[in-house]
Symmetry: C2
Subunit: 346 residues, 2 copies
């Protein structure tokens, strides 16, 4: 059935495409319907410091309605805000906005979305989940007081499913807010679970991975992996404008760990070699095999598996027992990315 859940879930799925790439910002998706119910735009926030999902959706919607291509080169949020305020007039007066997260009230790197929505006269807002950030929340109340009809999924029985999905989308952001870090474990494997035998993932999956590496505070790897794979661990395949090679933490029991792997020669990066798991801070990604996963599982907030649809005779590493909640899956060309939440045993 094509209802509010349907549109909200389209926005949620769009937002998963840039999950974690937006950190320290939340992943957010937005969809706009015109007064007749036609979809004008479907967009997701791409990176912190860049326009929020609502702003990108308004930009797309404005272009769809006007064909005014002057808006297309505008990439800074403040530019788009100003342009829309000047040019949109009554275009959006009867539009409906679906957004996975309450629009911000906060003038941070970009102007407040709530203020922009007010000045454009958006009539109706369907919101997936409340902004948990005390600095940014209040957008829903602000707009409601100014005559906008607000539907909050978390207070609406019929939107319960979307509300849960919108909450799942926020897990990395919430983790970072609440405990100061978000720890993502990533591995690539084949259909039969094998993780050895050279490059598993496609080029497109590597780009996806390298985009995430640009956003890391730290990349964690086992000493064993460094010695066997001799990795570079940079982000050279990223498709973002701002390449940043992640700092590295090597976990090893070895003293005098040999510093010969190419990862040590990457400029502008810190490498630390540790004998025990430290207190992590920020967005952390652990890349490794099943042994490292088993050791780190109690610390891990989310698991990201890149599954390649092949079978191979390469042996599987010894496994252990663990259950996960499937949060989201998305095809990346011929691979599949699975976002999984560890089920902590009671």
């Amino acid at each position: 059935m094509v209802d509010d859940n349907f549109y909200l879930e389209l926005a949620i799925k769009e937002a998963w495409k840039t999950q974690c790439q937006t950190l320290p910002n939340p992943a957010v998706g937005a969809l706009i319907l015109d007064h007749n119910g036609r979809i004008l735009a479907l967009q997701a926030h791409q990176e912190a410091g860049k326009p929020h999902a609502e702003v990108l959706a308004l930009k797309e919607a404005y272009f769809n309605l006007t064909q005014d291509s002057n808006i297309l080169p505008l990439e800074q949020s403040i530019q788009i805000h100003e342009y829309l305020k000047q040019k949109a007039h009554s275009l959006f007066h009867n539009a409906t906005l679906y957004v996975t997260l309450e629009p911000c009230m906060h003038e941070g790197k970009t102007p407040s979305c709530a203020a922009l929505l007010e000045s454009l006269g958006i009539k109706k807002l369907i919101i997936g989940t409340k902004d948990p950030n005390p600095k940014a929340q209040g957008g829903a109340e602000y707009l409601q007081q100014r005559g906008c009809k607000i539907i909050k999924a978390w207070e609406n029985k019929e939107l319960q499913k979307s509300s849960i999905l919108a909450n799942d989308l926020l897990l990395p952001f919430n983790s970072l807010q609440k405990k100061g870090n978000f720890i993502l474990f990533k591995y690539a494997c084949r259909l039969n679970g094998s993780i050895n035998g050279g490059q598993i993932s496609s080029k497109e999956t590597q780009i996806f991975m390298h985009n995430l590496r640009c956003k890391l505070d730290e990349l964690v790897i086992s000493g064993k992996s460094v010695l066997i794979d001799n990795p570079i661990l940079d982000s050279r395949f990223n498709s973002l404008q701002s390449q940043k090679n992640p700092n590295i933490t090597i976990l090893t029991r070895k003293n005098d760990f040999p510093q010969t792997a190419p990862l040590f020669s990457i400029p502008n990066r810190q490498v630390r070699i540790l004998h025990s798991i430290p207190n992590f801070s920020g967005f952390i990604m652990c890349e490794g095999g099943i042994n490292l996963l088993q050791n780190l599982l109690p610390q891990i907030d989310m698991l990201l598996v890149f599954l390649s649809p092949t079978l191979s005779t390469y042996d599987l590493a010894p496994h252990f027992n663990a259950n996960f909640k499937l949060l989201h899956s998305q095809p990346i060309r011929n691979d599949l990315a699975l976002w999984l939440l560890p089920k902590k045993e009671c």
Copy 2:
């Protein structure tokens, strides 16, 4: 971007939900926009003999526009056709229909969709792929001659991606048409590839599986699996109205195969015990482990994997090397269904 590809792909995804459940009919999805571009309906064909996707979408769209609940209990295609012809008047005159497959011209178990679309005055049709069935094709030309604007994805460069996806959707149907059988291999596994250790899939996945079993001409299993698992292989968890327990072919090298498993006691089923792979006819599903998959791979048209997001210490069966194209993936509660096409080596 929200364009014809976007809507066509929504219809394609909807159709994958009932992939193979529609056999011997093709899986088909349909989406309707009103004259303002609002989505009125998104539907898929459910089972052979039941209404086609277009008819279900028109039914949903009619109800959305009129709130006339008299149409809701109508389940037979002919009833819906007649009701719409009588009541819809000019409701759909400016509507746009996206359909993954050319509307049928064929009066089979249900009246022709092309004739219905003509009489309702649908203005524009976007079609994913040509009907390969000589008995049913011609719907596009018929409607075009009667003033309907037809966009054929397979002749349109901008819709090339959707056209390929719409074609993939037809693979089971086309296989059945062209070579008289469609052979689907199914197995369930965990994230680490393990397939032993009791029930892997959730109840929802079992329902999905049992729906497919209702549609089989034959279920193929290895003698080894019968002896180890002692299975019933019925379709008791199906959610369709028409339960049918599949006929069974057991492949074994054993003479005097013991007929003790519960599968032998299911009424109205044929069981045959064979020592070599026969010439299959119709919709065939093979359920088994990696050894059976390896033996049957040259015969197999498609692989369906139900992936459960768990790790376990159960050993993996010995594997072999094989590559697949990921045709489609869909979450079923906490499991994931992967539809895979074997890549035949040249």
